[in-house]
């Protein structure tokens, strides 16, 4: 996934000359641009509209089942979406918490601790890792981490007191589980989160940092009292983007979560998520099931669009705040 956060184009002080500013009749070029824009708008509307339209049969009859029912009876229904919704929440929230805590420390280290000449190399490396296709993370989780979970981590977790209530039994044969999905997701969204949060932290004005240092603040005091508060909005934006990526992740989760519509939400049981359930079930789906999967897609779309609108708004607000400072 590439990370492009466009600069804020909201204000237009330096007005670009309009196409029709000097010429009475609009040129062919202008119409070409308009035509391309209409094509783009049509594709986008078609994208949302097609998925909505195809999911309508399911929404009109079985909204309750889809949002809260358990069990997915393949050819005819009912199609309960509870397992996928909770699975998505569980895996992405755990992944997000881990990735944000570790990622924030990493970004701070890259900006303030790593020697200047290595900084660009590390930043490039992080962005390259963010570009690694998610299927490769899934493959690594499935072929390397899953056996390790099965042989080492799961037995260890099961020996802990009260672990059974949280994690459940690790009785599956492959080592795939919701916990593994959360781990793989957190490794996967780390580079994304670090790439954005590093950028947000590194644009905190040097004057502020130097002023604070000259007052005798220690390194941590500067970070805690000056850098993090200044970068706060942007960091929240980065968090939302990472969450959007985690909830939308498909094939990596399809490989490592186990692919079972399970409503016992213990972390060591195999489970699934909305996106990965669509991917694994769609091949054999017919009629009603296609509508149900499309309806799950609509859920995913609503969540994702909401998250990315919020995050982009926050990141561009951060830019304005910094511009004033």
């Amino acid at each position: 996934m590439s990370i492009i956060i466009p600069p804020d184009f909201g204000t237009h002080e330096e007005v670009v000359p309009e196409f029709n500013s000097g010429t009475p009749s609009r040129s062919w070029y202008h119409y070409l641009l308009i035509a391309a824009s209409i094509v783009f708008a049509a594709v986008s509307v078609g994208f949302v509209g097609t998925i909505l339209w195809n999911s309508l049969p399911e929404w009109s009859h079985h909204t309750g089942t889809l949002l809260g029912g358990s069990g997915w009876q393949a050819p005819l229904g009912p199609f309960g979406g509870l397992a996928m919704i909770v699975g998505t929440l569980e895996t992405s929230v755990i992944a997000l918490v881990v990735a944000v805590i570790i990622g924030l420390g990493t970004s701070i280290s890259i900006v303030f601790l790593v020697p200047r000449r290595f900084r660009n190399v590390i930043a490039t490396l992080v962005e390259l890792l963010a570009a690694v296709p998610s299927i490769v993370y899934g493959l690594w989780g499935f072929l390397v981490l899953a056996p390790w979970m099965l042989n080492t981590v799961d037995p260890f977790l099961n020996r802990l007191p009260f672990a059974r209530e949280v994690f459940g039994n690790s009785s599956q044969e492959f080592g795939t589980s919701l916990l593994l999905a959360a781990i793989v997701l957190s490794v996967m969204i780390l580079p994304t989160f670090v790439a954005i949060s590093r950028e947000v932290i590194s644009v905190v004005p040097q004057d502020l940092i130097e002023a604070s240092l000259s007052l005798g603040a220690t390194k941590w005091q500067v970070i805690r009292e000056v850098v993090l508060p200044t970068a706060k909005i942007g960091l929240v934006g980065a968090t939302f983007l990472a969450l959007a990526r985690a909830t939308g992740e498909t094939v990596a989760v399809a490989l490592v979560a186990g692919g079972v519509a399970n409503t016992q939400f213990h972390l060591l049981y195999p489970g699934t998520s909305i996106a990965s359930w669509i991917a694994t079930e769609f091949g054999e789906a017919q009629g009603n099931e296609i509508a149900a999967l499309m309806a799950l897609g609509v859920l995913l779309m609503i969540v994702n669009f909401g998250l990315s609108l919020i995050s982009r708004g926050l990141v561009s607000r951060q830019r304005k705040v910094l511009a004033i400072v």
Binding site: S27, F47, F112, L143, V144
Partner: protein, 310 residues
Amino acid sequence: MSDITELEKPVETGHQMRDEIRQISDRVRGRRQLRSRIMVTLCATALSVTAVPLFLLLYQLFRRGLPVILHAGFFTQLPQTPSLITPNATGGVSNAILGSLVLTLYAAIMAIPVGVLVGVYLAESDSKLAASLRVIAQTMAGAPSILMGLFAFSFVVRDLHVGFSAIAGSFALAVLMLPVIVISSEIAVRGVPNTLREAGLALGAKPHKVSLKIVLPAAVTGIVTGIILAISRAIGETAPVLLVIGGGYINSWKPLDPVSALPLSIYENAKSEWPSLRTEVWGIALVLVVFVFVLSLSARIWASRKQQAR
């Protein structure tokens, strides 16, 4: 806070006072510095916690993948299904490599002209249409890729009766690439200094001539960089093509044939029961990652070179 109130206690002489301030300051500084050192160490720990799994991933990818791609016929042969008699016969992945290239090529042909033109429009227009298209592009850029697969399935495969085919996969990838190209082209065109535009207009050139002959050439680096990044994202996506390309086992470049793709064959081989296929999958993953790295590194290096030249 308590340290400051301690300072306000009455003291007899200036000499005593100085000593006392020094003592308090020493004590507080020690505490502050200890705290700072602990937190900074924690941050450094976080850096290494991030680095370890990611380096492990890359290390294992290269260690397990290199022997596979050096194996004869990996790039040239078609895949074989291993049998009990020949459990190690996996063939090659020529169909997946060709399929990925073909899918990306068709997707690029569909997405680049529209994307660049929309980007230029967004950069040079102030209309309401431009403002709403910008929001749409930014939202679409982060949409989960599986949804592109659903769209391509309903629209191309089913409604247009095209069937499972390369063109359906390319359509899904084009929808994925479009917003990325739009956004990066807009940024690139806006980066062109206004003085260039004004100089062109002052010489009497028509606005569309200025845009085509002056602004676009000046912005071409940024536009191409964005296109390469979009391609490198598209080539690695599994979910959109999973639902629509059909997974063909022959070498084909025809738009209406079912094709395979590198990410798709990784997904399928990883789940295979044959150990030989699960070994081969590392080679496919390595090829894919090298593709992506070469694309994004070249985009990056080219962009920075051009920037320096300016």
